[in-house]
C-alpha cells in the first residue's frame, strides 16, 4: 500500500526528473573523487560543495512550494524552519569538536568558555549524540510549525495576515538568536566544525558524501511530495487553496489539511537546513532574516508554483545567478534580484515550468491542426 501511495503521484516526467537529480548527486561527487586532477570532466571540490548547497536550497524551495503552490499559504518564514534544523545540526557538530577548540574545554564549546558559562545549558544536553540530534532536526521545526499553524489555521488567519505572522515569527527568532543569553553563540552563531559522524567535514570525501545525501534527500522529498499532492488528500488540498470556504461547506476540516502540509513542509525545511550547515561550515542568526524566506519564495515563483519540478529548477537557476553575479558584478545583484521579483510576478506568474507547459500545449495544438 505504501508503495502504491508513493507511486501514485509520479508522472513520467517526474520520474525522469528524480532520476536526473540522483544522477547529479552521484556523478558530481564521483567525478571529483575518481577522476585525476586536471581532467576536463572533474568537478573541483568547491563546485561539489556548491552543488550540495543548491540541492539543500532546492529541498527548501520544494517545502515552500508544498504550502504555497499547493495550499495557497504564502509563508514568509520558512527560512526559520531551515535555520532551526541547521542549528540542531550545528549543536551536534559543536559537541563533536571536543577538546580541539581554542580553549580545549571537553564539554563547553569555545563561545561558552568565552562568555564565562560554567556548565552546559539544559537544551544542549544530548546533542553530543547524532541519534539524538537527528530526530531533533525534524522535531524542533515541526513543533514550531505545529504550534503556530494550530493557532493560526484554527483562527482562520489567512492570506497576507498569515504571511505577516510568519514573517514576524522569523523576525522574532532572528532577534532572539542574536542574543548571547540564548546560549547559541549570539551573532557569531556556531562554526569551526571539525567532524561529522567521525569524518572530517573538510575532507573531499565527506563533502562528496554530503552532496550525494543532499541529492538523495531531495529525491525522496520529490517522491513524498508527489505522493501527497497526487492523493485524494492532495485533491482536497488544492481545493482548499482555490476555494477554502467551499470546502468547509462540504464538511472538510480545512485547518487540519493545512496543518498537515505546514508541519510536513517545516520538517522538510529543517532537514534541508541540517544538511546545509556541514557543507557551508557555519550557522548564524542571519539565516533567520526575513529576506532569506522571501528569496526562497522567489525560487518557487521563478520555477513555477504548484509544480514539483519548478521549485527545484528555480532554486538552481536563481542561486546560480546569485553565485555568478555576486562574484562578477556585486552591485548589480540586488537590482537583478529585485527586478526578478517584479518580472516574475507581473509576466511569469506560472514560472519557467508554466512557460514550458504553455509552449508545449501550443505546439501540440499546432501539430493537431496540421494533422487534421
Amino acid at each position: 500500500m505504501i508503495t502504491r501511495f508513493l507511486w501514485q503521484g509520479m508522472s513520467r516526467n517526474l520520474r525522469l526528473f528524480v532520476l536526473l537529480v540522483m544522477a547529479v548527486g552521484i556523478l558530481v561527487p564521483l567525478s571529483n573523487l575518481l577522476l585525476p586532477p586536471g581532467s576536463p570532466f572533474r568537478m573541483p571540490s568547491w563546485a561539489v560543495q556548491l552543488v550540495g548547497k543548491y540541492l539543500c536550497y532546492a529541498s527548501l524551495a520544494l517545502a515552500v512550494d508544498l504550502v504555497w503552490g499547493f495550499c495557497g499559504i504564502l509563508t514568509l518564514g520558512h527560512a526559520a524552519f531551515f535555520a532551526l534544523g541547521g542549528y540542531c545540526m550545528g549543536m551536534y557538530l559543536m559537541r563533536q569538536i571536543g577538546t580541539r577548540g581554542v580553549y580545549g574545554n571537553p564539554i563547553l564549546p569555545d563561545f561558552m568558555v568565552f562568555l564565562n558559562y560554567k556548565e552546559l545549558p539544559w537544551f544542549w544536553h544530548g546533542f553530543d549524540s547524532f541519534w539524538f540530534a537527528a530526530p531533533m532536526i525534524v522535531l524542533v521545526p515541526s513543533l514550531l510549525a505545529l504550534g503556530l499553524g494550530w493557532f493560526a489555521f484554527r483562527s482562520r488567519v489567512t492570506g497576507v495576515y498569515l504571511s505577516i505572522i510568519t514573517q514576524a515569527m522569523t523576525f522574532a527568532l532572528l532577534l532572539a538568536f542574536f542574543r548571547n543569553d540564548m546560549g547559541l553563540g549570539g551573532n557569531n552563531g556556531l562554526t569551526d566544525f571539525k567532524d561529522i559522524l567521525g569524518y572530517s567535514v573538510q575532507s573531499d570525501t565527506t563533502r562528496a558524501v554530503l552532496c550525494f545525501v543532499s541529492a538523495l534527500v531531495l529525491a525522496i522529498f520529490l517522491v513524498i511530495s508527489a505522493a501527497v499532492v497526487g492523493s485524494r488528500f492532495g485533491k482536497a488540498l488544492t481545493a482548499v487553496r482555490d476555494a477554502e470556504s467551499r470546502m468547509r461547506f462540504l464538511g472538510y476540516r480545512v485547518e487540519r489539511y493545512k496543518l498537515f502540509v505546514f508541519v510536513l513542509s517545516a520538517a522538510m525545511a529543517g532537514i534541508a537546513g541540517a544538511l546545509y550547515v556541514p557543507q557551508v561550515g557555519i550557522i548564524n542568526p542571519s539565516e533567520f532574516s526575513p529576506g532569506n524566506s522571501i528569496e526562497a519564495v522567489l525560487w518557487v515563483a521563478v520555477g513555477g508554483r504548484g509544480t514539483l519540478i519548478g521549485p527545484v529548477i528555480g532554486a538552481f537557476v536563481v542561486n546560480f545567478g546569485k553565485t555568478w553575479l555576486t562574484g562578477a558584478l556585486p552591485e548589480v545583484w540586488l537590482f537583478a534580484l529585485g527586478a526578478l521579483f517584479i518580472v516574475v510576478t507581473l509576466l511569469l506568474p506560472k514560472g519557467v515550468v508554466g512557460l514550458w507547459n504553455q509552449f508545449r500545449s501550443r505546439s501540440r495544438e499546432r501539430q493537431a491542426r496540421a494533422a487534421a
Binding site: 493557532f151 522574532a172 532577534l175 542574543r179 540586488l334 537590482f335 529585485g338
Partner: protein, 537 residues
Amino acid sequence: MLRLRPFSVLLSVLASLALAGAALAADLATLVGNLTSGGLSDREAAITALAASGEERAAPILEALAAGQLYVRTSDKVAVIGKADGNKLALTEAVSGKPAGSAVEADLDRVRVNNRLRGTIEAAVGSLTLMSPNSNVRLNAADALFKRRDATALPALDQALAAEKDARVKRAMSEARAAIVLAAADTPPAQKLAAIALLKDRGDRDSLGILNTVASSSDGEVKAAAAAAATSIDQALAAWQMAQNVWYGISLGSVLLLAAIGLAITFGTMGVINMAHGEMVMIGAYTTFVVQEIIRTSAPHLFDVSLVIALPLAFVVSGAIGILIERTIIRFLYGRPLDTLLATWGLSLVLQQAVRSIFGSSNREVGAPSWMSGAFQLGQLNITYGRLWIVVFALIVFASLILLLRKTPLGLYMRAVTQNRPMAAAVGIRTPRVDALTFGLGSGIAGLAGVALSQIDNVSPNLGQGYIIDSFMVVVFGGVGNLFGTLIGALTLGVVNKFLEPYAGAVLGKILVLVFIILFIQRRPRGLFALKGRSVE
C-alpha cells in the same frame, strides 16, 4: 584641636562678613598684596578680607591659591596665576585677569598654603558664590552645597538665605540647609523634622538618599518621619518613572504611527501589502539629507528651517515615486495580494540598492536644527525637544489625514472605495485614479515620516527595513481600514514596548511584543477595531 578647626574658620568668616562694608573700600590690589606677602599666620586674615571684599576676581584668586597656582613673579613682584602649559606655565595677572605671557617655575614664587588655610579658602569661596550678584551662580552654589552637605558652610548659607530675594534660589538654599542640618549629628530633632519635610517636598533621588541615611542612622520620631518621607518619595519617584516610561512609549508610538499610517491607508483601501513602504520612508530621509547639504553649501543661514523645507519636498518625492509604482506595477496585480507582496519586496531591494549606489552605503549625517536640540525638565520627567516635536508632528499628520479623509472629495472617494469597490465603480468613481492617488498619498506620508525619522535614526539605505515589520504589526493590531485603530495600535505597542524594556531588555521586549501580536491575531484575526459585515470577505 582638630574638632575645633572648622569652628574657628567659621568664626573668622563670620567676622569678615560682618566687616564687609569696611573691607569693600579696600583696594583689590592691596588685598592681593596682603595675601602674597607676609607669613602663613597673616594669610588667614588676608583670605577672609579678600573674600569679604565681594570683588568678582576674589573667587578665582582664592581658588588658585587653594590649588597652589598663585605665584609672585620674581622679576616684578606681580601676583600671577599660573596654569601648566607644556613645560612652562601660562600666566594671568591675578588682579586684572589679563594674560601675562608665560614663565618657567624657577622664575616664580609660589604662595604657599597649608591644609588649615585650604579649609578657610573653601568656606570663603562657598560663601562668595552664595552671595554672587548672578542668581544662576547662587543657584549652582546652593545645589553644590546640597550635594556636598558641608556643615562649615552653614553660617554663610544662613546669611545668604536671609538676604535672598529670588524664590527659586531661596528654595534651593533652604533645601541645601536642610541637607546639611540632617547630616549634622547634633541638630535638635525639631529642626531635623522640618528639614525632612523640606526634602520630602523636593522629592528627587538625592533627597531619597539623604532620607534613607537619616532613617537608618537615627531613631524615634526622626527615624519614623524620615522613613515615611522616604517611602512617599519612593512612591512618587516610581510614579514619575512610570510617567517617564509612558512618555518614552508615546514617543516610540508616534514614530510607529508615522511609519505605519501611510501603510494603513494603502493596505486598508486597496488591500495591498506594500513591502517597499519602508523604502518610501528612507527616501524621505534622504530628501532631508539632500536639502540640508544644499543649505550647508549655499545658504547656511537657512539651516534652522531645513526640515520645514524638506517636508513638502519629501512628500512630493516619495508620493511621486509611489504613484509611479502604482501605475507601473501594482495596478496589474489587483486581486493578487500575495503577488503584490512579492513584487513590492523586489522593488524595495531595487530602491535600496539604487540609494546605495547614489549615496553610498554608509550612514549620512542629518543635523538637528537648534529648536529641536536640548531638553527640559517637567517635574521629574526628562523631555527632549526633538522627541517632543516628533510626537507633535505625528499627531498633526494624523489629524490632517483624518480631515483629508472626512472633508475632501478625494477622502470621500477613498472611503467609498475602501467600503465597497464595485459599488464605488458603479456610481462613477474612477477607482484606478483613486488607487493611484491613495498610493501616492500613503507613500507621501511615508516620506514625511522619513523627515522625522532622519532626526532620530541613522540615515542609511537600510533605514526603511527596520520599520516595515513594526509598521505591519501596528496596522494589523489596530485593525485594517481604521485609522483610529492605527493610532491606538501604534501608541499601545509603543508604550507596551517601553514598559517591557526595563524588565526584559530591549531585544527580549521586542520579541515579547511580536509574540504577543502573533497570539493576538489568532484571537482577533482582523485586529482591534475590525470592520464587520459581509463586505469584509
